[in-house]
Subunit: 212 residues, 2 copies
């Protein structure tokens, strides 16, 4: 019974995701679904990305949170149009929620839409949002065992960003282990090592965003 | 429809949780549901706790993960009986899963059972497991805004442990902010600041575990 309901929910979501993608395509907007654990640095990565690219690319953000508008305020302070989507306890964004939020974005003035998902390394993996690219951000503070433990998320990523690498000297994290685990479970994914804090590795990530 | 199903699922889960609690009480086992984000340090906190307390307390662990048996291997290496519970993609443990896993624990040889939940700051908050105490672990690397952003989880905790405080000099994390946010949303919760890595603050946490 539970499984049947979940299957219907996912099918309905996939159909709505196709609608979202059609709207984005019609407006020539590329969209990126940014996922990762709570506190892995998603908003900080966006701030650092906009700082480097907003002179040439018109961004907008859908900001998914369970509660508070704090992240949306940070994005707005970076002078990027943002719509806060509060899930009120919900563990992921879904395509219907994204579709509704898109009504509040001037898509004709946007080149690239970031959808910052709810901080969660599990549930968002199952829900397409009509995105063109799926990016998973993993902070080195979370440990190098995450790609195998949360393989559902990492297997379906188009790019994996290892973030907060300025903390590497203080954490037990082996970048080679992540590289080899990803090579095994998702060899197609682009991989980046960045610190949004001190700028290390940002150039390669920015280049990837530029060419999406 | 979705909400009705969820309500039924939660009601059924609560009934199973009562059964679990009855079994634990009959065996005089105290149980602690340990929750937190992926990579916040749950297994490391358990290792450091057992090291300090296992001479006087008989522990056991139910180890919840989506995939891999790595955490269970770490607990077993600490010489504590452990049952690995793989959710195969599921985002939380539920009471029925815990009930089934308990069949594999010699409860007459256990004083304190830790249930390490799936790394997730959202979904586990909704599912009672028959635990006597709920503990949320927050790593300083996750940022000081988490109690308000993930308030559903933090509001229902009996204890909040701020962990990895050895990283404080390298992170933007204000312990006073967490303290004051928790004082507002959950003034009853015990609060601890620990580093399982260098041992700072462990004595207070150990004392709390000892008196559960």
């Amino acid at each position: 019974m539970k499984i049947e309901v979940l299957k219907r929910v996912l099918e309905k979501n996939a159909a709505r995701a196709d609608d979202v993608r059609a709207v984005l395509d019609r407006n020539q907007v590329v969209s990126i679904n940014l996922m990762g654990s709570p506190g892995c640095g998603k908003t900080t990565l966006l701030e650092a990305t906009f700082e480097r690219l907003q002179a040439e690319t018109r961004f907008a953000v859908l900001e998914g949170d369970l509660a508070t508008t704090r992240d949306a305020e940070r994005i707005a302070a970076a002078d990027v149009p943002v719509v806060q989507v509060l899930t009120e306890g919900g563990c992921h964004l879904d395509a219907a929620t994204v579709a509704a939020a898109l009504d509040r974005v001037r898509l004709d003035e946007v080149d690239c839409l970031f959808i910052e998902n709810v901080g969660n390394l599990v549930c968002p993996a199952n829900f397409e949002l009509g995105e063109h690219h799926r990016v998973v951000l993993l902070s080195v503070a979370e440990g190098d065992d995450k790609p195998l433990k949360y393989s559902y998320m990492f297997q379906r990523a188009d790019a994996v960003v290892v973030g907060k690498i300025d903390l590497l000297p203080h954490c037990r994290f082996d970048p080679d282990r992540v590289r080899s685990d990803l090579a095994r479970i998702n060899p197609q994914a682009s991989q980046f090592m960045v610190s949004a804090y001190d700028g290390t590795g940002m150039a390669e990530w920015i280049d990837w965003v530029r060419h999406t």
